[in-house]
Amino acid sequence: MPHVKSQSHHLMRSPVLAWVGIALIAVALIALPFALAQIGTAWVRIANLAILFALLALGLNIVVGFAGLLDLGYIAFFAVGAYCYALLASPHFGLHLPFWLILPIGALVACLFGVLLGAPTLKLRGDYLAIVTLGFGEIVRVFLNNLARPINITNGPQGISRIDPVSIGGIKFNTTGKVFDLAISGPMKYYYLLLIVLIIAIVINIRLQNSRIGRAWEAIREDEIAARAMGINTTQIKLLAFAMGASFGGIAGGIFAAIQQFISPESFVLVESIMVLSMVVLGGMGNIWGVVAGAVLLSFVPEILRYTVLPVQNALFGRAIVEPEVIRMLLFGLALVAVMLYRPAGLFPSAVRRRELAKADARLPA
Protein backbone atom coordinates (compact mmCIF):
# COMPACT_ATOMS: atom_id res chain seq x y z
CA MET A 1 0.00 0.00 0.00
CA PRO A 2 1.55 3.28 -1.04
CA HIS A 3 -0.07 5.45 1.59
CA VAL A 4 0.13 4.59 5.24
CA LYS A 5 -1.89 6.49 7.76
CA SER A 6 0.52 8.84 9.42
CA GLN A 7 -1.07 8.97 12.85
CA SER A 8 -1.39 5.27 13.56
CA HIS A 9 2.06 4.33 12.41
CA HIS A 10 4.35 6.95 13.87
CA LEU A 11 5.62 4.35 16.35
CA MET A 12 7.01 2.31 13.49
CA ARG A 13 9.63 4.86 12.53
CA SER A 14 12.34 2.66 13.95
CA PRO A 15 11.13 -0.95 13.92
CA VAL A 16 14.07 -2.33 15.88
CA LEU A 17 13.60 0.18 18.65
CA ALA A 18 9.87 -0.51 18.67
CA TRP A 19 10.44 -4.27 19.12
CA VAL A 20 12.95 -3.69 21.90
CA GLY A 21 10.39 -1.45 23.58
CA ILE A 22 7.63 -4.03 23.21
CA ALA A 23 9.91 -6.76 24.59
CA LEU A 24 10.79 -4.62 27.62
CA ILE A 25 7.13 -3.85 28.31
CA ALA A 26 6.27 -7.54 27.97
CA VAL A 27 8.95 -8.55 30.47
CA ALA A 28 7.81 -5.83 32.86
CA LEU A 29 4.18 -6.95 32.60
CA ILE A 30 5.12 -10.58 33.20
CA ALA A 31 7.31 -9.71 36.19
CA LEU A 32 4.87 -7.20 37.66
CA PRO A 33 2.78 -9.60 39.81
CA PHE A 34 5.92 -11.01 41.43
CA ALA A 35 7.05 -7.51 42.34
CA LEU A 36 3.59 -6.62 43.62
CA ALA A 37 3.40 -9.84 45.61
CA GLN A 38 6.50 -8.71 47.52
CA ILE A 39 4.52 -5.74 48.85
CA GLY A 40 1.46 -7.85 49.47
CA THR A 41 -0.99 -10.08 47.64
CA ALA A 42 -3.56 -7.30 48.03
CA TRP A 43 -1.62 -5.36 45.39
CA VAL A 44 -1.88 -8.18 42.90
CA ARG A 45 -5.62 -8.09 43.46
CA ILE A 46 -5.59 -4.34 42.86
CA ALA A 47 -3.69 -4.90 39.62
CA ASN A 48 -6.35 -7.43 38.60
CA LEU A 49 -9.07 -4.94 39.35
CA ALA A 50 -7.19 -2.32 37.33
CA ILE A 51 -7.15 -4.66 34.31
CA LEU A 52 -10.85 -5.40 34.77
CA PHE A 53 -11.55 -1.68 34.79
CA ALA A 54 -9.34 -1.26 31.72
CA LEU A 55 -11.55 -3.83 29.97
CA LEU A 56 -14.63 -1.89 31.00
CA ALA A 57 -13.09 1.41 29.94
CA LEU A 58 -12.22 -0.05 26.54
CA GLY A 59 -15.80 -1.18 26.09
CA LEU A 60 -17.25 2.14 27.16
CA ASN A 61 -14.74 3.88 24.92
CA ILE A 62 -16.37 2.29 21.89
CA VAL A 63 -19.69 3.90 22.80
CA VAL A 64 -18.44 7.21 24.20
CA GLY A 65 -15.10 7.71 22.50
CA PHE A 66 -15.67 6.25 19.05
CA ALA A 67 -19.37 6.80 18.42
CA GLY A 68 -19.79 9.83 20.71
CA LEU A 69 -22.80 8.48 22.60
CA LEU A 70 -22.77 9.32 26.30
CA ASP A 71 -23.61 6.27 28.41
CA LEU A 72 -24.03 6.65 32.17
CA GLY A 73 -25.35 3.17 32.83
CA TYR A 74 -22.51 1.14 31.43
CA ILE A 75 -21.99 -0.88 34.60
CA ALA A 76 -25.30 -2.63 33.82
CA PHE A 77 -23.53 -4.69 31.14
CA PHE A 78 -20.81 -5.58 33.63
CA ALA A 79 -23.60 -6.74 35.93
CA VAL A 80 -25.27 -8.78 33.20
CA GLY A 81 -22.00 -10.53 32.42
CA ALA A 82 -21.28 -11.18 36.07
CA TYR A 83 -24.74 -12.60 36.76
CA CYS A 84 -24.57 -14.74 33.63
CA TYR A 85 -21.43 -16.34 34.97
CA ALA A 86 -22.79 -16.60 38.51
CA LEU A 87 -26.01 -18.29 37.43
CA LEU A 88 -24.32 -20.73 35.07
CA ALA A 89 -21.47 -21.70 37.38
CA SER A 90 -22.59 -21.87 40.97
CA PRO A 91 -24.67 -24.06 43.27
CA HIS A 92 -27.50 -21.50 42.94
CA PHE A 93 -29.04 -23.39 40.01
CA GLY A 94 -26.70 -26.32 40.33
CA LEU A 95 -25.15 -25.48 36.97
CA HIS A 96 -21.42 -25.69 36.51
CA LEU A 97 -20.63 -24.84 32.93
CA PRO A 98 -16.97 -24.35 32.00
CA PHE A 99 -15.43 -20.88 31.93
CA TRP A 100 -14.66 -20.80 28.22
CA LEU A 101 -18.29 -21.57 27.44
CA ILE A 102 -19.86 -19.04 29.80
CA LEU A 103 -17.68 -16.13 28.76
CA PRO A 104 -19.05 -15.99 25.20
CA ILE A 105 -22.58 -16.53 26.55
CA GLY A 106 -22.09 -13.61 28.92
CA ALA A 107 -20.74 -11.46 26.12
CA LEU A 108 -23.70 -12.38 23.93
CA VAL A 109 -26.31 -11.69 26.60
CA ALA A 110 -24.66 -8.36 27.45
CA CYS A 111 -24.59 -7.62 23.73
CA LEU A 112 -28.33 -8.27 23.63
CA PHE A 113 -28.86 -5.90 26.53
CA GLY A 114 -26.77 -3.34 24.66
CA VAL A 115 -29.13 -3.53 21.71
CA LEU A 116 -32.08 -3.45 24.12
CA LEU A 117 -30.78 -0.19 25.55
CA GLY A 118 -29.67 1.17 22.20
CA ALA A 119 -32.88 0.62 20.27
CA PRO A 120 -35.16 3.02 22.16
CA THR A 121 -32.46 5.66 22.55
CA LEU A 122 -31.38 6.00 18.94
CA LYS A 123 -33.03 9.35 18.43
CA LEU A 124 -31.62 10.78 21.66
CA ARG A 125 -28.40 12.68 21.96
CA GLY A 126 -26.29 14.35 24.61
CA ASP A 127 -28.04 15.03 27.92
CA TYR A 128 -31.17 13.10 27.02
CA LEU A 129 -29.26 9.99 26.09
CA ALA A 130 -27.23 10.29 29.29
CA ILE A 131 -30.38 10.39 31.43
CA VAL A 132 -31.95 7.37 29.72
CA THR A 133 -28.78 5.30 30.01
CA LEU A 134 -28.48 6.29 33.65
CA GLY A 135 -32.01 5.05 34.18
CA PHE A 136 -31.22 1.83 32.37
CA GLY A 137 -28.28 1.14 34.67
CA GLU A 138 -30.49 1.60 37.70
CA ILE A 139 -33.27 -0.55 36.25
CA VAL A 140 -30.88 -3.46 35.80
CA ARG A 141 -29.63 -3.10 39.37
CA VAL A 142 -33.15 -2.88 40.79
CA PHE A 143 -34.13 -5.97 38.84
CA LEU A 144 -31.16 -7.88 40.20
CA ASN A 145 -32.17 -6.79 43.67
CA ASN A 146 -35.75 -7.95 43.29
CA LEU A 147 -35.69 -11.00 41.06
CA ALA A 148 -35.73 -13.27 44.10
CA ARG A 149 -39.49 -13.66 44.21
CA PRO A 150 -41.74 -15.30 43.08
CA ILE A 151 -39.06 -17.38 41.39
CA ASN A 152 -35.63 -16.98 42.86
CA ILE A 153 -33.40 -16.06 39.95
CA THR A 154 -30.86 -13.63 41.33
CA ASN A 155 -31.16 -14.35 45.05
CA GLY A 156 -31.87 -10.63 45.59
CA PRO A 157 -29.65 -8.44 47.77
CA GLN A 158 -27.93 -11.47 49.31
CA GLY A 159 -26.24 -12.03 45.99
CA ILE A 160 -24.83 -15.27 44.70
CA SER A 161 -21.99 -16.93 46.49
CA ARG A 162 -19.73 -19.96 46.00
CA ILE A 163 -19.33 -19.17 42.32
CA ASP A 164 -16.99 -21.56 40.54
CA PRO A 165 -13.48 -20.22 40.10
CA VAL A 166 -11.94 -20.33 36.66
CA SER A 167 -10.54 -23.69 35.77
CA ILE A 168 -8.88 -24.23 32.42
CA GLY A 169 -7.45 -27.61 31.46
CA GLY A 170 -7.23 -28.81 35.04
CA ILE A 171 -5.51 -25.65 36.30
CA LYS A 172 -7.55 -24.17 39.12
CA PHE A 173 -7.18 -20.43 39.30
CA ASN A 174 -8.11 -19.99 42.94
CA THR A 175 -5.25 -22.00 44.40
CA THR A 176 -1.52 -21.60 44.47
CA GLY A 177 0.30 -23.63 41.90
CA LYS A 178 3.93 -24.21 41.05
CA VAL A 179 5.76 -23.66 37.80
CA PHE A 180 9.24 -25.17 38.25
CA ASP A 181 10.09 -23.84 41.67
CA LEU A 182 8.09 -20.66 41.36
CA ALA A 183 4.96 -20.42 43.48
CA ILE A 184 2.15 -18.78 41.55
CA SER A 185 -0.77 -17.71 43.69
CA GLY A 186 -4.40 -17.56 42.62
CA PRO A 187 -4.48 -13.80 42.09
CA MET A 188 -1.32 -14.07 39.99
CA LYS A 189 -2.92 -16.66 37.74
CA TYR A 190 -5.88 -14.40 37.28
CA TYR A 191 -3.51 -11.56 36.51
CA TYR A 192 -2.07 -13.44 33.55
CA LEU A 193 -5.50 -14.51 32.37
CA LEU A 194 -6.73 -10.93 32.55
CA LEU A 195 -3.62 -9.66 30.82
CA ILE A 196 -4.23 -11.99 27.89
CA VAL A 197 -7.89 -10.93 27.68
CA LEU A 198 -6.85 -7.27 27.86
CA ILE A 199 -4.33 -7.65 25.03
CA ILE A 200 -6.98 -9.33 22.89
CA ALA A 201 -9.41 -6.52 23.74
CA ILE A 202 -6.87 -3.87 22.79
CA VAL A 203 -6.17 -5.57 19.46
CA ILE A 204 -9.89 -5.80 18.73
CA ASN A 205 -10.32 -2.13 19.59
CA ILE A 206 -7.45 -1.00 17.40
CA ARG A 207 -8.70 -3.04 14.48
CA LEU A 208 -12.23 -1.78 14.89
CA GLN A 209 -11.06 1.82 15.07
CA ASN A 210 -9.09 1.52 11.83
CA SER A 211 -11.88 -0.13 9.90
CA ARG A 212 -14.89 0.78 7.83
CA ILE A 213 -17.00 0.43 10.99
CA GLY A 214 -14.64 2.63 13.00
CA ARG A 215 -14.77 5.33 10.35
CA ALA A 216 -18.57 5.17 10.34
CA TRP A 217 -18.56 5.69 14.13
CA GLU A 218 -16.28 8.68 13.72
CA ALA A 219 -18.53 10.07 11.01
CA ILE A 220 -21.58 9.82 13.28
CA ARG A 221 -19.75 11.54 16.10
CA GLU A 222 -18.58 14.34 13.82
CA ASP A 223 -21.84 15.04 11.97
CA GLU A 224 -24.76 12.68 12.05
CA ILE A 225 -26.71 14.32 9.23
CA ALA A 226 -23.74 14.29 6.90
CA ALA A 227 -23.05 10.68 7.88
CA ARG A 228 -26.58 9.67 6.92
CA ALA A 229 -26.39 11.59 3.67
CA MET A 230 -23.20 9.66 2.88
CA GLY A 231 -25.15 6.42 3.11
CA ILE A 232 -24.28 5.37 6.65
CA ASN A 233 -27.17 3.58 8.31
CA THR A 234 -26.83 5.41 11.61
CA THR A 235 -29.36 3.19 13.35
CA GLN A 236 -27.39 0.07 12.62
CA ILE A 237 -24.00 1.60 13.31
CA LYS A 238 -25.08 3.06 16.65
CA LEU A 239 -26.62 -0.23 17.75
CA LEU A 240 -23.39 -1.91 16.77
CA ALA A 241 -21.47 0.49 19.02
CA PHE A 242 -23.78 -0.27 21.96
CA ALA A 243 -23.59 -3.99 21.29
CA MET A 244 -19.80 -4.09 20.96
CA GLY A 245 -19.30 -1.91 24.03
CA ALA A 246 -21.72 -4.02 26.04
CA SER A 247 -20.06 -7.31 25.13
CA PHE A 248 -16.76 -6.05 26.54
CA GLY A 249 -18.62 -5.23 29.73
CA GLY A 250 -20.13 -8.70 29.73
CA ILE A 251 -16.76 -10.41 29.43
CA ALA A 252 -15.26 -8.27 32.18
CA GLY A 253 -18.29 -9.08 34.34
CA GLY A 254 -17.88 -12.81 33.84
CA ILE A 255 -14.24 -12.76 34.90
CA PHE A 256 -15.10 -10.50 37.83
CA ALA A 257 -17.67 -13.01 39.09
CA ALA A 258 -15.17 -15.86 38.78
CA ILE A 259 -12.45 -13.97 40.66
CA GLN A 260 -14.67 -12.72 43.46
CA GLN A 261 -16.66 -15.95 43.69
CA PHE A 262 -19.39 -13.81 45.15
CA ILE A 263 -21.49 -11.05 43.59
CA SER A 264 -24.41 -8.96 44.72
CA PRO A 265 -26.26 -6.02 43.18
CA GLU A 266 -24.23 -3.73 45.42
CA SER A 267 -21.23 -4.12 43.12
CA PHE A 268 -23.07 -2.51 40.23
CA VAL A 269 -24.15 0.89 41.49
CA LEU A 270 -24.18 4.18 39.60
CA VAL A 271 -20.85 5.27 41.11
CA GLU A 272 -19.17 2.41 39.27
CA SER A 273 -20.58 3.63 35.95
CA ILE A 274 -19.28 7.10 36.71
CA MET A 275 -15.91 5.65 37.70
CA VAL A 276 -15.53 3.89 34.36
CA LEU A 277 -16.61 7.03 32.52
CA SER A 278 -14.05 9.04 34.51
CA MET A 279 -11.36 6.63 33.37
CA VAL A 280 -12.35 7.11 29.75
CA VAL A 281 -12.56 10.89 30.02
CA LEU A 282 -9.43 11.28 32.13
CA GLY A 283 -7.36 8.96 29.98
CA GLY A 284 -8.48 10.55 26.73
CA MET A 285 -11.73 9.68 25.00
CA GLY A 286 -11.22 7.83 21.75
CA ASN A 287 -7.58 6.99 22.46
CA ILE A 288 -7.24 3.28 23.23
CA TRP A 289 -3.94 3.58 25.13
CA GLY A 290 -5.13 6.67 26.95
CA VAL A 291 -8.24 4.89 28.13
CA VAL A 292 -6.22 1.94 29.43
CA ALA A 293 -3.86 4.33 31.20
CA GLY A 294 -6.82 6.16 32.70
CA ALA A 295 -8.21 2.91 34.07
CA VAL A 296 -4.89 1.83 35.58
CA LEU A 297 -4.31 5.27 37.09
CA LEU A 298 -7.74 5.61 38.64
CA SER A 299 -7.55 2.07 40.02
CA PHE A 300 -4.11 2.42 41.58
CA VAL A 301 -3.90 6.02 42.80
CA PRO A 302 -6.79 5.81 45.27
CA GLU A 303 -5.31 2.58 46.67
CA ILE A 304 -1.88 4.13 47.02
CA LEU A 305 -3.46 7.06 48.82
CA ARG A 306 -5.31 4.66 51.08
CA TYR A 307 -1.99 3.23 52.26
CA THR A 308 -0.05 6.49 52.47
CA VAL A 309 -2.46 9.05 53.91
CA LEU A 310 -2.38 7.67 57.43
CA PRO A 311 1.41 7.22 57.79
CA VAL A 312 2.04 10.67 56.34
CA GLN A 313 -0.31 12.29 58.83
CA ASN A 314 1.23 10.35 61.67
CA ALA A 315 4.68 11.52 60.62
CA LEU A 316 3.61 15.14 60.24
CA PHE A 317 1.28 15.65 63.18
CA GLY A 318 1.86 12.61 65.29
CA ARG A 319 -1.75 11.58 64.90
CA ALA A 320 -4.41 11.15 62.24
CA ILE A 321 -6.38 14.38 61.87
CA VAL A 322 -8.47 13.52 58.84
CA GLU A 323 -9.92 10.14 57.99
CA PRO A 324 -7.94 8.46 55.21
CA GLU A 325 -11.11 7.81 53.23
CA VAL A 326 -12.01 11.52 53.25
CA ILE A 327 -8.57 12.63 52.11
CA ARG A 328 -8.56 9.98 49.43
CA MET A 329 -11.80 11.17 47.87
CA LEU A 330 -10.78 14.82 48.26
CA LEU A 331 -7.48 14.34 46.45
CA PHE A 332 -9.18 12.19 43.89
CA GLY A 333 -11.71 14.91 43.17
CA LEU A 334 -9.04 17.60 43.04
CA ALA A 335 -6.98 15.54 40.61
CA LEU A 336 -9.97 15.13 38.32
CA VAL A 337 -10.75 18.85 38.40
CA ALA A 338 -7.11 19.68 37.67
CA VAL A 339 -6.98 17.33 34.72
CA MET A 340 -10.17 18.76 33.26
CA LEU A 341 -8.81 22.30 33.66
CA TYR A 342 -5.36 21.76 32.26
CA ARG A 343 -5.82 18.81 29.95
CA PRO A 344 -9.48 18.94 28.94
CA ALA A 345 -9.05 16.33 26.22
CA GLY A 346 -7.67 13.87 28.78
CA LEU A 347 -4.15 12.93 29.84
CA PHE A 348 -3.48 11.17 26.56
CA PRO A 349 -5.90 12.74 24.12
CA SER A 350 -6.68 11.29 20.72
CA ALA A 351 -5.67 13.58 17.88
CA VAL A 352 -9.25 14.06 16.78
CA ARG A 353 -10.45 15.01 20.27
CA ARG A 354 -7.69 17.55 20.64
CA ARG A 355 -8.80 19.20 17.43
CA GLU A 356 -12.43 19.20 18.52
CA LEU A 357 -11.59 20.95 21.75
CA ALA A 358 -9.30 23.40 19.99
CA LYS A 359 -12.23 24.35 17.82
CA ALA A 360 -14.47 24.85 20.84
CA ASP A 361 -11.87 27.20 22.31
CA ALA A 362 -11.58 29.18 19.11
CA ARG A 363 -15.30 29.88 19.23
CA LEU A 364 -15.12 31.54 22.63
CA PRO A 365 -15.36 35.34 22.55
CA ALA A 366 -12.02 37.04 23.08
Binding site: M1, H3, S6, I204, R207, L208, S211, R212, I213, G214, R215, A216, E218, A219, E222, D223, I225, A226, A227, R228, A229, M230, G231, I232, N233, T234, L240, M244, V352, R355, E356, K359
Partner: protein, 263 residues
Protein backbone atom coordinates in the same frame (compact mmCIF):
# COMPACT_ATOMS: atom_id res chain seq x y z
CA UNK B 1 -39.04 9.44 -24.97
CA UNK B 2 -35.78 10.52 -23.45
CA UNK B 3 -34.10 8.77 -20.56
CA UNK B 4 -35.35 10.41 -17.39
CA UNK B 5 -33.29 9.80 -14.27
CA UNK B 6 -35.42 11.71 -11.81
CA UNK B 7 -39.09 12.57 -12.07
CA UNK B 8 -40.75 14.65 -9.35
CA UNK B 9 -44.47 15.14 -9.41
CA UNK B 10 -46.41 17.61 -7.28
CA UNK B 11 -43.95 17.82 -4.40
CA UNK B 12 -45.23 19.78 -1.42
CA UNK B 13 -43.83 20.53 2.03
CA UNK B 14 -45.29 22.72 4.74
CA UNK B 15 -43.66 24.01 7.91
CA UNK B 16 -46.54 25.15 10.07
CA UNK B 17 -48.35 27.71 7.92
CA UNK B 18 -45.47 28.23 5.52
CA UNK B 19 -45.66 26.47 2.18
CA UNK B 20 -41.97 25.84 1.67
CA UNK B 21 -42.76 23.86 -1.45
CA UNK B 22 -46.07 23.76 -3.23
CA UNK B 23 -46.75 21.46 -6.16
CA UNK B 24 -43.33 21.31 -7.75
CA UNK B 25 -42.99 18.98 -10.76
CA UNK B 26 -39.98 18.47 -12.94
CA UNK B 27 -37.86 15.81 -14.60
CA UNK B 28 -34.12 15.50 -15.01
CA UNK B 29 -32.67 13.66 -17.96
CA UNK B 30 -29.73 11.35 -17.54
CA UNK B 31 -26.35 13.04 -18.09
CA UNK B 32 -27.81 16.54 -17.79
CA UNK B 33 -26.67 19.47 -15.71
CA UNK B 34 -29.90 20.73 -14.24
CA UNK B 35 -30.04 24.10 -12.51
CA UNK B 36 -32.28 25.05 -9.62
CA UNK B 37 -32.48 28.75 -8.90
CA UNK B 38 -34.66 31.16 -6.98
CA UNK B 39 -34.37 33.95 -4.42
CA UNK B 40 -33.50 33.18 -0.81
CA UNK B 41 -36.26 31.22 0.88
CA UNK B 42 -37.68 30.01 -2.43
CA UNK B 43 -37.52 26.39 -1.27
CA UNK B 44 -34.43 25.17 -3.11
CA UNK B 45 -32.77 23.56 -0.13
CA UNK B 46 -36.13 22.18 1.04
CA UNK B 47 -36.40 20.46 -2.33
CA UNK B 48 -32.91 18.99 -1.80
CA UNK B 49 -33.88 17.79 1.65
CA UNK B 50 -37.00 16.08 0.29
CA UNK B 51 -35.01 14.49 -2.47
CA UNK B 52 -32.33 13.15 -0.13
CA UNK B 53 -34.74 11.87 2.51
CA UNK B 54 -33.91 14.36 5.23
CA UNK B 55 -37.52 15.61 5.12
CA UNK B 56 -40.60 13.62 4.14
CA UNK B 57 -42.84 15.22 1.55
CA UNK B 58 -46.43 16.13 2.52
CA UNK B 59 -47.54 15.33 -0.99
CA UNK B 60 -46.11 14.30 -4.33
CA UNK B 61 -44.05 11.49 -5.76
CA UNK B 62 -40.42 11.03 -6.63
CA UNK B 63 -39.23 8.44 -9.14
CA UNK B 64 -35.52 7.85 -9.39
CA UNK B 65 -33.81 5.51 -11.85
CA UNK B 66 -37.03 3.61 -12.34
CA UNK B 67 -38.06 3.18 -8.69
CA UNK B 68 -39.78 5.30 -6.12
CA UNK B 69 -37.70 7.04 -3.46
CA UNK B 70 -40.67 8.39 -1.51
CA UNK B 71 -40.17 8.09 2.22
CA UNK B 72 -36.72 6.50 2.04
CA UNK B 73 -34.23 7.41 4.75
CA UNK B 74 -31.18 9.46 3.71
CA UNK B 75 -28.86 6.47 3.78
CA UNK B 76 -31.22 4.44 1.57
CA UNK B 77 -31.50 7.34 -0.86
CA UNK B 78 -27.72 7.50 -1.00
CA UNK B 79 -27.61 3.77 -1.63
CA UNK B 80 -29.99 4.24 -4.56
CA UNK B 81 -27.53 6.70 -6.05
CA UNK B 82 -28.23 10.27 -5.01
CA UNK B 83 -25.35 12.05 -3.28
CA UNK B 84 -25.35 15.61 -2.10
CA UNK B 85 -23.29 18.45 -0.73
CA UNK B 86 -24.53 20.97 1.80
CA UNK B 87 -25.06 24.72 1.57
CA UNK B 88 -23.36 25.21 4.94
CA UNK B 89 -20.49 22.76 4.41
CA UNK B 90 -20.90 19.61 6.50
CA UNK B 91 -17.56 17.89 6.31
CA UNK B 92 -16.26 15.65 9.08
CA UNK B 93 -14.26 18.65 10.12
CA UNK B 94 -11.75 17.07 12.51
CA UNK B 95 -10.89 14.12 10.31
CA UNK B 96 -8.33 14.14 7.53
CA UNK B 97 -9.23 14.97 3.97
CA UNK B 98 -8.54 11.39 2.97
CA UNK B 99 -10.70 9.96 5.76
CA UNK B 100 -13.59 12.17 4.67
CA UNK B 101 -13.54 10.62 1.21
CA UNK B 102 -12.96 7.12 2.62
CA UNK B 103 -16.14 7.49 4.70
CA UNK B 104 -17.94 8.24 1.44
CA UNK B 105 -17.02 4.70 0.32
CA UNK B 106 -18.95 3.20 3.25
CA UNK B 107 -22.15 2.63 1.33
CA UNK B 108 -20.39 0.73 -1.48
CA UNK B 109 -18.29 -1.49 0.77
CA UNK B 110 -19.14 -4.37 3.05
CA UNK B 111 -16.58 -5.13 5.77
CA UNK B 112 -18.28 -5.77 9.11
CA UNK B 113 -17.09 -6.39 12.64
CA UNK B 114 -15.89 -9.89 11.87
CA UNK B 115 -13.80 -8.77 8.93
CA UNK B 116 -12.40 -5.86 10.90
CA UNK B 117 -11.45 -7.89 13.98
CA UNK B 118 -9.92 -10.83 12.13
CA UNK B 119 -8.54 -8.62 9.36
CA UNK B 120 -9.52 -11.13 6.74
CA UNK B 121 -8.02 -11.10 3.29
CA UNK B 122 -11.23 -9.69 1.86
CA UNK B 123 -11.24 -6.84 4.36
CA UNK B 124 -7.62 -5.95 3.71
CA UNK B 125 -8.22 -5.90 -0.03
CA UNK B 126 -11.31 -3.80 0.44
CA UNK B 127 -9.46 -1.32 2.67
CA UNK B 128 -6.75 -0.98 0.05
CA UNK B 129 -9.37 -0.37 -2.63
CA UNK B 130 -11.14 2.22 -0.47
CA UNK B 131 -7.93 4.11 0.09
CA UNK B 132 -6.89 3.91 -3.56
CA UNK B 133 -10.28 5.15 -4.75
CA UNK B 134 -10.21 7.99 -2.21
CA UNK B 135 -6.84 9.12 -3.52
CA UNK B 136 -8.13 8.94 -7.09
CA UNK B 137 -11.12 11.10 -6.20
CA UNK B 138 -8.96 13.64 -4.41
CA UNK B 139 -6.81 13.81 -7.49
CA UNK B 140 -9.97 14.22 -9.58
CA UNK B 141 -11.10 17.32 -7.69
CA UNK B 142 -7.58 18.67 -7.39
CA UNK B 143 -6.87 17.98 -3.72
CA UNK B 144 -4.31 15.20 -4.12
CA UNK B 145 -1.65 17.02 -2.11
CA UNK B 146 -4.10 17.74 0.71
CA UNK B 147 -4.88 14.12 1.60
CA UNK B 148 -3.34 14.19 5.08
CA UNK B 149 -4.53 17.67 6.06
CA UNK B 150 -7.38 18.13 8.47
CA UNK B 151 -10.60 18.96 6.65
CA UNK B 152 -11.26 22.00 8.81
CA UNK B 153 -7.90 23.55 7.94
CA UNK B 154 -8.72 23.76 4.23
CA UNK B 155 -9.72 27.07 2.65
CA UNK B 156 -13.38 27.46 1.85
CA UNK B 157 -13.18 26.66 -1.84
CA UNK B 158 -11.20 23.49 -1.20
CA UNK B 159 -13.68 22.38 1.46
CA UNK B 160 -16.42 22.61 -1.17
CA UNK B 161 -14.35 20.51 -3.55
CA UNK B 162 -13.74 17.99 -0.80
CA UNK B 163 -17.49 17.72 -0.23
CA UNK B 164 -17.87 16.96 -3.92
CA UNK B 165 -15.16 14.28 -3.75
CA UNK B 166 -16.82 12.72 -0.72
CA UNK B 167 -20.19 12.71 -2.49
CA UNK B 168 -18.63 11.16 -5.61
CA UNK B 169 -17.14 8.42 -3.44
CA UNK B 170 -20.65 7.05 -2.96
CA UNK B 171 -20.85 6.37 -6.72
CA UNK B 172 -23.97 8.43 -7.34
CA UNK B 173 -26.08 8.52 -10.48
CA UNK B 174 -27.20 11.99 -9.45
CA UNK B 175 -24.97 14.50 -7.71
CA UNK B 176 -26.91 17.26 -5.99
CA UNK B 177 -24.81 20.34 -5.26
CA UNK B 178 -26.21 22.95 -2.89
CA UNK B 179 -24.57 26.29 -3.73
CA UNK B 180 -21.13 24.89 -4.42
CA UNK B 181 -19.78 28.26 -5.57
CA UNK B 182 -20.79 30.21 -2.46
CA UNK B 183 -17.81 32.09 -1.11
CA UNK B 184 -15.60 31.36 -4.11
CA UNK B 185 -13.77 33.96 -6.17
CA UNK B 186 -14.20 34.14 -9.93
CA UNK B 187 -11.16 31.96 -10.70
CA UNK B 188 -12.37 29.29 -8.32
CA UNK B 189 -15.87 29.53 -9.78
CA UNK B 190 -14.57 29.00 -13.29
CA UNK B 191 -12.61 25.96 -12.13
CA UNK B 192 -15.69 24.66 -10.35
CA UNK B 193 -17.72 25.06 -13.54
CA UNK B 194 -15.13 22.99 -15.38
CA UNK B 195 -15.19 20.34 -12.65
CA UNK B 196 -18.98 20.06 -12.83
CA UNK B 197 -18.86 19.68 -16.59
CA UNK B 198 -16.21 16.99 -16.26
CA UNK B 199 -18.31 15.12 -13.69
CA UNK B 200 -21.20 15.12 -16.16
CA UNK B 201 -18.99 13.95 -18.99
CA UNK B 202 -17.90 11.07 -16.78
CA UNK B 203 -21.47 9.91 -16.52
CA UNK B 204 -22.93 11.53 -13.42
CA UNK B 205 -26.05 13.66 -13.72
CA UNK B 206 -25.79 16.94 -11.82
CA UNK B 207 -28.49 18.91 -10.02
CA UNK B 208 -27.18 22.32 -9.09
CA UNK B 209 -28.52 24.97 -6.75
CA UNK B 210 -26.62 28.14 -7.36
CA UNK B 211 -26.97 31.87 -6.80
CA UNK B 212 -24.33 32.75 -9.32
CA UNK B 213 -26.47 33.31 -12.39
CA UNK B 214 -23.52 33.42 -14.75
CA UNK B 215 -22.38 29.99 -13.61
CA UNK B 216 -25.85 28.47 -13.84
CA UNK B 217 -26.64 29.96 -17.24
CA UNK B 218 -23.21 28.90 -18.45
CA UNK B 219 -23.30 25.20 -17.65
CA UNK B 220 -26.93 24.09 -17.19
CA UNK B 221 -29.03 22.74 -20.03
CA UNK B 222 -32.23 23.03 -18.05
CA UNK B 223 -33.25 25.36 -15.27
CA UNK B 224 -36.06 25.23 -12.75
CA UNK B 225 -36.97 28.49 -11.06
CA UNK B 226 -38.67 28.52 -7.67
CA UNK B 227 -40.19 31.47 -5.84
CA UNK B 228 -41.99 31.22 -2.50
CA UNK B 229 -42.19 27.46 -2.88
CA UNK B 230 -43.85 27.62 -6.28
CA UNK B 231 -42.34 26.69 -9.57
CA UNK B 232 -42.49 29.79 -11.78
CA UNK B 233 -40.47 28.67 -14.79
CA UNK B 234 -38.77 25.62 -16.24
CA UNK B 235 -36.84 25.27 -19.43
CA UNK B 236 -33.64 25.98 -21.30
CA UNK B 237 -31.57 28.97 -20.08
CA UNK B 238 -32.52 31.16 -23.07
CA UNK B 239 -36.22 30.83 -22.30
CA UNK B 240 -35.82 31.13 -18.56
CA UNK B 241 -33.80 34.32 -18.73
CA UNK B 242 -36.49 35.94 -20.89
CA UNK B 243 -39.36 34.76 -18.73
CA UNK B 244 -41.22 37.79 -17.38
CA UNK B 245 -42.03 36.18 -14.02
CA UNK B 246 -38.43 35.13 -13.49
CA UNK B 247 -37.15 38.62 -14.15
CA UNK B 248 -39.71 40.05 -11.75
CA UNK B 249 -39.36 37.53 -9.00
CA UNK B 250 -35.72 36.73 -9.07
CA UNK B 251 -33.46 38.67 -11.33
CA UNK B 252 -35.32 41.91 -10.76
CA UNK B 253 -34.54 41.79 -7.10
CA UNK B 254 -30.88 40.99 -7.44
CA UNK B 255 -29.72 44.29 -8.95
CA UNK B 256 -28.82 45.80 -12.28
CA UNK B 257 -25.54 43.98 -12.79
CA UNK B 258 -27.10 40.59 -12.58
CA UNK B 259 -29.81 41.53 -15.03
CA UNK B 260 -27.15 42.58 -17.50
CA UNK B 261 -25.39 39.30 -17.08
CA UNK B 262 -28.59 37.36 -17.50
CA UNK B 263 -30.09 39.14 -20.48
Amino acid sequence: MTDRLLVCDGLAKRFGGVHALDGVSFAIERHAIYGLIGPNGAGKTTLFNLLTGIYTADAGRMQFAGGTIDGLSPDRVCERGIARTFQNIRLFANLSVLENVMIGRHVRTKAGVFGAVFRTRATQDEEARIERRAHELLDYVGLADRANDIARSLPYGEQRRLEIARALATEPHLLALDEPAAGMNSTEKAALGELIKRIRTDGVTVLLIEHDVKLVMGICEHILVLDYGKQIAEGVPEDVRRDRRVIEAYLGTVGDDSIKVAT
